[in-house]
Symmetry: C2
Subunit: 244 residues, 2 copies
């Protein structure tokens, strides 16, 4: 294994959607030729070490991992209040979020190392919402995986069929995605023709993959090592299925 | 690998609960010493070739597989009307169903080949309900797995904590376990302290593991090869987790 990484600046050239965006490509240079590519949409603080690690782990699995940027200019913060403000602004413009996800996917497909016919996206928290919104655009992508993502459909989402496989890895006690929203999501995905799955974990809250989310610090939030391992394993199996 | 099987007659000796019961034990004679034991609760037609195969596959995984009988005297039928009648009678006596599951678990634990500290149960359709009812008794068992099982709690279920891990593999379009019952189940399991998961599969109906359930023959029912493979893989990962 010979893991490498490289910064990628990308832009959709489709008017002002807030670019350029700055992502990081991770791959195993010991593998020859194009391979599946997996985009990693960050949690609400923007692309940071956490997402780089996930993209690197995807590279170690034999894929190209692409940690992306949905804020523009590679913006990131460690300040929760700033992060909430940035996320709320983008969340109020879901069509913009979707457009930024689409250009990220295009940038991934344009990489020489990537087999453009075999792509997927994973995302965490607000990044989970971002990859679901990408699927909702009806784009050609093999699959999307949301880790403790937010499930509500935007009013701006187009009225299209969803060709992607969709996997939602969900903590049942997540206050940002309550049981009722799981029902609504199931109905939406069924109507849109998505081949979907939800794995719901009991006694598990929001941000369960985030070691910095101290359990008990905020009700319904908290790191859970078991759910983290389960969800990653489920993602690995999902990728093996869609890239077979 | 040296797969063997043996008929086991068992009874709880606890008054008339309809025994004796007749199950089949499957194991790999190439493995030495006690190993985890997994009970297989049949679908509503009673223990048949399908369940024997699952128990044999569990034996091939290194466990003892025990295909059980919840009707008594090894009763089984290929006639759907007869099967429905038998199932409905037992379903009307959920405390009896639970008692029969408890004696089956005791019979499994009593086997020399079985490490009584490491047991689990899986079940299909009405057998899924049966293994959930077993967990609801608060018995000492590592985990239970329901494949397209029915999720409603019986009024007769005791008011106890559930120490088992619980995994429900569920077709979202199953008319016998609607989305609302998934919500009720999540709430019940959470209140009872069970470490639970539900894997919901979109566009998937009841009996999805049953090759004899021709898709389209009955709305909301149907074999699904992909869901079958996914659910078995999820079960294998679950067993590896609880028997680690």
């Amino acid at each position: 294994m010979d893991l490498r990484s490289m910064e990628i600046r990308y832009d959709g050239g489709k008017g002002d959607i807030g670019g350029p965006f700055i992502g990081t490509l991770h791959w195993d240079a010991a593998i020859e030729g194009p391979r599946p590519g997996v985009l990693v949409a960050p949690a609400f603080r923007g692309r940071a070490q956490f997402e780089e690690q996930r993209a690197q782990e995807l590279a170690a699995l034999g894929y190209v991992g692409f940690a992306i940027d949905y804020y523009g200019q590679g913006w990131t913060t460690t300040d929760p209040a700033e992060a909430h403000a940035a996320k709320d602004r983008l969340d109020a413009e879901r069509a913009m979020l979707a457009a930024r996800m689409v250009v990220a996917l295009e940038a991934l497909k344009a990489q020489e190392l990537v087999d453009a016919e075999r792509t997927a996206a994973i995302g965490y928290c607000f990044g989970g919402k971002a990859v679901l919104d990408l699927a909702r655009e009806g784009v050609e992508i093999g699959g999307v995986v949301s880790f403790h993502g937010i499930l509500d459909r935007a009013a701006s989402a187009p009225d299209v069929k969803i060709p992607a496989e969709v996997l939602v890895l969900h903590g049942w006690d997540d206050p940002l995605a309550k049981p009722e929203s799981v029902l609504a999501f199931g109905q939406e995905m069924t109507e849109r023709g998505a081949r979907w799955q939800v794995h719901a974990y009991g006694h598990t809250g929001h941000a369960f993959t985030n070691p910095a989310a101290t359990p008990g610090a905020q009700p319904g939030f908290g790191f859970d090592a078991k759910a983290t391992a389960r969800s990653w394993r489920a993602m690995v199996a999902f990728m093996e299925e869609i890239f077979r």
